[in-house]
Symmetry: C2
Amino acid sequence: MSVSFPTSDLTAALRITEGPVDLSAIETDVAPGFDGDKEDGKAALFAMGAELADLQERLFAQGVAGGTRNILLVLQGMDTSGKGGTLRSTVGLVDPQGVRITSFKAPTEEERAHDFLWRITRALPPVGVIGVFDRSHYEDVLIARVRELAPAEEIERRYEAITAWEADLAARGTTIIKCMLHISAEEQKERLLARLEKPEKHWKYNVGDLEERKLWPAYQEAYEIAIGRTATEAAPWHVIPADRKWYRNLAIGSLLHEALVAMDLTWPKADFDVEEQKRLLAEEKPPV
Amino acid sequence: MSVSFPTSDLTAALRITEGPVDLSAIETDVAPGFDGDKEDGKAALFAMGAELADLQERLFAQGVAGGTRNILLVLQGMDTSGKGGTLRSTVGLVDPQGVRITSFKAPTEEERAHDFLWRITRALPPVGVIGVFDRSHYEDVLIARVRELAPAEEIERRYEAITAWEADLAARGTTIIKCMLHISAEEQKERLLARLEKPEKHWKYNVGDLEERKLWPAYQEAYEIAIGRTATEAAPWHVIPADRKWYRNLAIGSLLHEALVAMDLTWPKADFDVEEQKRLLAEEKPPV
């Protein structure tokens, strides 16, 4: 195959715009919508890089020139599913000035004193910028549900609140791309063991990871409910088979590319007289 | 020459730890401390990339593990001097998760209601992170002085305030790297004309740029005073000849590399029993 990069076949294969969702029916070590192997996938992402960077700069330029649009990429997934690797390999392809990454940890005391969407709203990207959430408001219906960090009726309320909040965000010009990096429990085990084997990876390991892992089925169920309840046309989910890192990276790159292309981004027109400025600059006395 | 990258010769040639400073005596189209041409310079920066990324990950890992150190890279320079290009070409070499870029614009009403260091302090990077300021608190003694945005005695106070604030920051674990991207007025003219020639660059052009340009000598004087008054061992300045973009990028990369190497960054030791975790993981019942 050629190294031209895929878009619509791949992204269409991943998109979910309504529930219900059965994660057990979605394989984790496959490459839907892409008719190539690992080398092809890496070549396709590489081929996409220059165009992604160009499109991102156009989005940024429009932001400077008074545009209203931006992108919010939401990354969710179990530990070791590759949220960080995706950021390095895919988001790293564009100008870092045009990207704002927020990693959400357990909420602080101040954050807990507000509604769960308060800290999320504060982290939204400005116009022209690609915002990336490494974990997100979905933790408030995932770990919050599994660990019973909030009453059941509050969790219930949150699905509705999220859907309304995202619909409003989309209506105001944000393209929302929600992704679950979908790995198998077996793949997670291998990745955790790999972290233990390498001293330079020990800092990524937490003893709490094993406790969380015991709750794997409860987390899968929480993801199914969250995705099913919040997948909409305005803010679709994408369940990305993520056992293969190259496919995961290609998928995220393709989703960003598709979103940028759909914006039909032209360079902003000059709001000044270009010829006059050229003349003034040519005629000026040397300033030094 | 080989593609091994330079550090100490180049960075030593740029470092300023005390005033006074005469900018007119520092050429803008030279490559101090580097004994190669453009191709050599690009190769050297490329060769540095993997090591920069490795060192940055160690810094980040130490931050996660309770470290206290980080880096603050301050970029100053006249319009078109290449602050943005530096970010793309050099800061883009490391994991975007470990970088926090802040572009300072004219202060908002809320910011103006506070001391000038208020918004700067809020933008400081957390431990383990490389913070980059695209413009900075130095605008409060540069444009503020040239445009008389504050009384002379307030500007005078700010040099002292900056020096004390930076010394405290350095004492608490931040390596401060202050850079002035030093271009000639002639080079700026060419770059402004180039922006006018290309429709895809018009968004970067402001008609106010020509007005600022008329104040070139006043800005150079303001830079000389600011650098001279705030260059210290704890927070040195680097005047980087920036007419040659490849040298500018190599210089910033070398300064970051030198700062990271000086931290002697080891991977954090595991704070848990690695063998026990391996055993628990091997013995666990499948979670699904």
